[in-house]
Symmetry: C2
Subunit: 134 residues, 2 copies
């Protein structure tokens, strides 16, 4: 499997755990050895694994219906990020998810999501990278 | 200079060019050889250097008074990111700026900024990483 595909798969696993409120899996998707951070929409930045996982425990106790769309992988050696949409019931967010490859597994080290004001309707199937409307 | 310090310096150069509307310098701060992307607050994601630099030309033609605060570097080999606040006149945003090291220079490959709803007042001097309020 290419790094691009492996990165997209890791990103999908993240949104599956997110949508299912699967706290145990979410914990395994984040690096335990590298510095991690997280910016939830509208929250102040969280730094450090304890603060980040505490936030996920709170969010996953009542998970939103969420799925990712238009995910695009960016690989730079053993680090990479996925840029994607987060499709919620009445909103679409843009998200940056940064991963590092450890022992062949891509693990999260950072997540930032924020609102997108103007966006095309999201089709059910993923047609690829987003087109800029401005 | 440590990679942490070099990364913070590259981040500062980005916000100096941003605040000064310095399009020529902004262009030199972004990688020319690696894939780049950008999510401006409320915009749909931009992918590719042409789209990203077009957006900066538009923004820098009328630059906002902006400065960064509480910048924290995260280094993973030759890739890293800076998590920081963007302090504007009436708003504070959270930003993730991803860099890759090319020939000893840290160059931007991605920027995402979005609003922070609840935040401590920003002091003039930078006291270090943000404290989470929730």
């Amino acid at each position: 499997m290419s790094d691009d595909d492996a990165l997209l798969l890791a990103n999908e696993a993240f949104y599956t755990a997110f949508a299912e409120g699967d706290e145990a899996t979410m914990d395994t998707l984040w690096s335990e050895t590298r510095p991690v951070a997280c910016v939830h929409p509208g929250w102040a930045p969280l730094i450090g694994r304890e603060a980040v996982m505490d936030s996920w425990r709170a969010i996953l106790s009542n998970p939103p219906p969420i799925r990712s769309g238009r995910a695009t992988p960016f690989v730079y050696g053993d680090t990479g990020f996925v840029l994607c949409h987060e499709v919620l019931q009445e909103a679409v967010l843009a998200a940056t998810n940064i991963f590092v490859k450890e022992d062949g597994r891509w693990l999260l080290v950072h997540h930032q999501a924020g609102p997108v004001q103007q966006i095309e309707p999201e089709p059910e199937s993923d047609p690829g990278p987003s087109r800029q409307l401005h």
